[in-house]
Structures are given as structure tokens and as C-alpha cells.
Symmetry: C2
Subunit: 361 residues, 2 copies
């Protein structure tokens, strides 16, 4: 715990399931503290406070507006349905609240640009709620794939992100409703695959993206499962991913380079909270007569002092404090990370909607 | 070692590098023995005999015809360039020799059908030289993905098969020459990916296959690297694979089902000769608050008494002995395995050659 006076004070808009995890993360992060929670119903907000054992010092509001009007709130975390992001993220920025926004960031990049413009013109920090970027394992993996001797050039990337939720998910969850989040599994599970692939490519946009005809939609037209392919013309690099609400739980990323390769199985949520690993090989070749290999893959274990979601909050608050205390301009890296993902997400949705055509970006 | 009188006697057409591995496998397999080797040059054949420490009882011929005319040869192993398969496999069948043929089996399925017809009308066994089917690990993996409780339905498959050969490979190897093997990496490394994907789908043909525009060809037009995607309309299943002569060594297969998933890293050539493993999870889900998982993946280790290439020869010879000793009809499973792979290979080549169009099978 840090000193409350110097900590960034958070408000949360909405009581989505993920808010419980981020509540805990805010309190675990030494430079952050939870100031307020809210729901459209004061009763729901009170229940959330009890369920999450929140301190009595946390304000409990029956509307999102009250959080934005609270002068002690520095920053808001917004886990609302995607269709509400534009309205509430822009309003938050206009009220000079820094914005930590759940993914997918918006219904399209036009909306996201309006959010980013509002953040920029109001001098507030923007970041989306993808936690895995902030795990020290991610930095360690990046070191590996950036090493020209160990890894070489990226040749292809594969990712999958899937889970098989209980039946009621398909009845009630916002990610299955066209008016709340038309991207469905593509915007939810697929957001991580898109992010991981762009991360591996240093955020260079692919030349084309294509969804496969085996894309499955629910009766509302929302994507439940899809497989997609990317290609980068100049580099000759490719990527494919699978995202689904209809499959066993996976969070795989495999990156294959000219000289090395790595595999991580639990990218989005590590198996364990305090450490995570990935496997790699470099310089592998067949043994004599093509019997066996000259090596097996190696495991790299990376310890993390705080859970990755607390590291995300800590990094966000560090940037917010720089703006508040030292008048540093908002960092632009995170908005670019989100924006490239949103552009690719839009193009993939267009591919699905246009009969699985190859879409040039 | 078995009894020479009851063993299947092998001849080998050609002294390709892979022939050394299969020579050894024939002698390791208890129901098989090497009778003859050959090359277009007697000198090259003699050098091969010395290099592989072959017994003096092995005949060394300066032409392929002599092997086919040797009445003591029951079966031939054919590691010749793909463009020569039609001629020599058909001739072998006509001489009543059983045919173990290197992959890719032919330049197209029309050629393969002529080979299969020749084998059928001459009552000889056919099998292609894909070794991994014969490892007991493969049977163990099949058990897992066939289990409706542990694995459920196949949702998506990913495979990669790649290696980065030394510069002289690109100058001299038959797999880089349009007149010898126009499939290049697709027919070589990709053959395994196609096989693994079809194996996981119980040899059901995909509805469509598509190659990505990032396909790289050499100056001779031979495929050096490609990424492709499959879809099965009825099942809603997808598969993607990457095969390449331009990347670090990989032999990955990931199969994701509705209830479980598995990953094997060394499908084609196991890391070690006497045992191999794969990793699986079943029934994985997020822990509370979406922090961590309820399980980590498990490793299954499978011991094999003989190297997989010797198990391939043993299975082939078992079928040959059934035909020779008990007048059993040639087994048709292996010809169907090869034929489905060849049909998919042809469709993928067509996709590449037609500007990366989606090809309906």
C-alpha cells in the first residue's frame, strides 16, 4: 500500500464480473487506490461492494455520472458493454478523468478515434484493459524474439483464445448480444490473438486479413467462433488465429522465426499468479540420419511480484501521476497499441460480413 | 533379427539421404531384411554400401531395373524424386514388388491413381513413407481425441513443419527443382501437416483449402514456404498450417476440441528415439475472479521398443507377409491415407497457382 495522498484515485463505471478482478488489482497496486464504484442501480453497486469486501471509504454510486462528477476521482476503469464505450469514455475524458477502457475498445475505429481525440484534447491518459502486456514474461518473450542471433526474423505466428462457457452465458452475456457487442468471440477472445500477433510484428499492420467460412454466428448474428489469416507482403510473414466461445480453454501463442521459435500456453491469464513461463528453442536441427533432434525446448520461468492486472494498473497510474505531478504529456504508446488492434478487428469483421473475402488494410 | 527365410526382402531404388535411415530401419525390423540397393551409378551404390556398413550379402546394383528383376526382392522402398515415382512405382508393381513409396507420393492424384491401380491389379501392398503414423504415441493421441468425454469434438487444428537447411540445399536438393519436385516445401514438410490434419479429422476431406499470398517461391517457381487454411462446412471445423524451408525447425500439431486440447512438438521426428510425449488438458477453466487456471497441462510419455521408421517397415512387412503367406488381399487403409493427402496437396497447389483462391474439393 502506498501513501493515499500520492496515489491515483480510481472510479469504476459498472459492476461487470471483470470489475472484481480490477478492483483487487487497484488495491494491490501501490500507486493506486479505489475511490468509487457505480452501477445504474444503487442496490447492485452496494451488493458489489459487499461481495468484494470493499473498504467503507469507497463511495458507492447509483449512476455513472456521479463517478465522473466526483472531484476526488482521477481515473476511471470502464468495463461497460462495447456499445457504451463511446459515450462514457468521451464523457470521462471531458470530465478530465484518465481512461482505462475494457476491450474491445469500441464498435469501430471511428468510435475509438473519437475516444482517443477526447482523451488527447483533455490531456488524459488512455489505455485498454489487456493485462498480459504488463506481465514481465511478455518483456522477456519480446527480448527473445528481438534477438537476431537467437530468433532471427518472424516467419509465422499462430494464436488461439477460446473457452467453453456454461449455457447461461449464451442467454445473458453481453458478448452474445448484437446491440451490446456485435464482435462476440472475435472482439473478446480474438482481441488477445490480434494483440499478440501485432505485438510480435511490432505493430506493423498486415497487408490483408481474411476470415474463414467456418465462422459460426448465433441467431443474433454475433460471432461465436472464427478462424482468420493475416499476411504481410513485404516481410512474407503470415499469422493465423482461432477464437471461440465453443471450445476448450486455450490461450496459445506460437511464434516461429528463422532461427528460433517460442510457445506460450497461458498468455492471457497465466496458470499461476506469481510466475509464468514460456518455452523456446533456438538453433534446433535434426540429429544424424534424421533420427532425433540436437536439442529439446527450454522453459523460461519469469517471476512477477504483483499479478499482471495489478502491474497494468500500476503502469497506468505511473503515467497518470506523471501527467498530474509533472505535467508530462500523456503517453501515446498504449493508444497506438489499441488502435492497431481495433483497425484489424474492424477489417476481420468486414471479411466475415462480406462473405469471407480477403480484406486489404 | 528374425529368420531370414520368413523375412520380407527389401530392395531400395536410389541412394537418397533418407535411404540411410530406412536401410537401418529395415534391418531393425524383425520381419524384414535388406536384400539389394541400387543407384544409376554402380560407384555411388558401392559408396552407399560402405558408408552405411551394409552386410556383404546385400546386392549392390548399378540400375533400378536390376532390383526389380531380382527374384529374391519382395518389396521396394522408393526414395526417388517425385517426378520419377509414377514410372518406377508402376514398374515395381508390374514386377510384383510391394511398394513403400516416399512422399509426396506423386506429381498429382492422377499419377498416384495410376500407381495405386498398378498395385491393386498386381496384388501388391502400397504404403507411403510417412513414419509418424506408426509411432505408438500417434495411437495414444488418437485415443485421446476420440474420447467424447475428455476431448469432445475437433474444433480447430494447427500444424507447422519447417526447417532451415544450409545454403547448398537450395542449389542442389531435388526438393528445390521444378522438374523433380514442384511442390517443394508443400510436398515435403507440408505433407506431414496435411497428413496430421486429415488424421485428426479421420480422413474426412475439407470443404475448401486456401493458400495465403505470403507464399514464397524460388526462381524455379518451387514453393519454399506457405501458409494455408482448411474448413469443413458440415462440422464447422478449421485447420491452418505453415510449412517452410526458410524457418527454424518445428514439427508442431495442436488439436483443439470442445472439451480438451493437445499439443505435440516433435510429431515427424521425435526428440528421442525410444520414447516420445505429448501434452494435453481436458476440462480446463479459469479459477475464481479469472485469476489462474484450475489445472496445468499434463504430459503423456509413450515408450517405443523400435524407432518409428522400423515400426513403419515392420507394419509394411506384416501386410506383405499376409499377402505372401496367407493370400490375404492388400490392405487398403494406407492407400486411402496417401490418396486423401495427395488430393489436398493438389488442391493447395492449385490455390497457389491460381492466385491464392479458395479451392473447393
Amino acid at each position: 500500500m502506498g501513501d493515499e495522498k500520492t496515489q491515483v484515485h480510481f472510479g469504476i463505471l459498472g459492476c461487470a464480473e471483470i470489475a472484481s478482478k480490477v478492483c483487487r488489482a487497484i488495491n494491490l497496486s501501490p500507486n493506486s487506490i479505489l475511490r468509487a464504484i457505480s452501477s445504474r442501480s444503487i442496490e447492485k453497486a452496494k451488493q458489489f461492494a459487499i461481495k468484494n469486501s470493499l473498504s467503507e471509504s469507497v463511495k458507492v454510486y447509483g449512476s455513472y455520472e456521479e463517478v465522473l462528477d466526483d472531484p476526488f476521482v482521477d481515473a476511471v476503469y470502464v468495463p461497460l458493454p462495447t456499445s457504451l464505450h463511446l459515450k462514457w469514455a468521451v464523457l470521462a475524458a471531458e470530465k478530465k478523468k484518465h481512461v482505462l477502457l475494457e476491450k474491445p475498445t469500441a464498435l469501430d475505429v471511428g468510435e475509438l478515434d473519437r475516444i482517443l481525440d477526447a482523451c488527447e484534447s483533455n490531456g488524459v491518459q488512455f489505455m485498454d484493459g489487456s493485462m498480459w502486456y504488463h506481465h514481465p514474461r511478455t518483456a522477456r518473450m519480446k527480448e527473445f524474439i528481438s534477438d537476431p542471433t537467437l530468433f532471427g526474423q518472424v516467419k509465422t505466428i499462430y494464436s488461439s483464445s477460446s473457452f467453453f462457457p456454461p449455457p447461461q452465458f449464451f442467454e445473458t452475456n453481453i458478448r452474445t448480444k448484437a446491440d451490446l457487442d456485435a464482435f462476440g468471440a472475435l472482439g473478446d477472445a480474438g482481441w488477445y490473438c490480434i494483440g499478440a500477433i501485432l505485438w510480435a510484428m511490432n505493430y506493423k499492420m498486415p497487408t490483408t486479413v481474411t476470415a474463414l467460412p467456418a465462422t459460426i454466428r448465433n441467431s443474433d448474428g454475433v460471432i461465436m467462433s472464427t478462424t482468420v489469416a493475416f499476411h504481410w507482403e513485404q516481410e512474407g510473414t503470415t499469422a493465423t488465429f482461432y477464437c471461440s466461445f465453443l471450445s476448450h480453454e486455450t490461450m496459445d501463442v506460437l511464434v516461429l522465426g528463422s532461427k528460433g521459435s517460442f510457445h506460450v500456453e497461458d498468455l492471457i491469464i497465466p496458470y499461476e499468479e506469481s510466475s509464468a513461463s514460456f518455452n523456446f528453442t533456438s538453433g534446433a536441427s535434426f540429429a544424424d540420419l534424421h533420427i532425433g533432434w540436437n536439442m529439446k525446448e527450454q522453459e523460461v520461468q519469469v517471476h512477477n511480484e504483483l499479478p499482471q492486472e495489478a502491474l497494468m494498473v500500476k503502469e497506468f497510474s505511473r503515467l497518470v501521476k506523471g501527467i498530474k505531478d509533472s505535467s508530462i504529456r500523456p503517453d501515446t504508446k498504449w493508444r497506438e497499441v489499441s488502435r492497431t488492434s481495433q483497425v484489424v478487428l474492424d477489417a476481420l469483421k468486414l471479411s466475415v460480413d462480406s462473405g469471407f473475402k480477403r480484406v486489404y488494410i
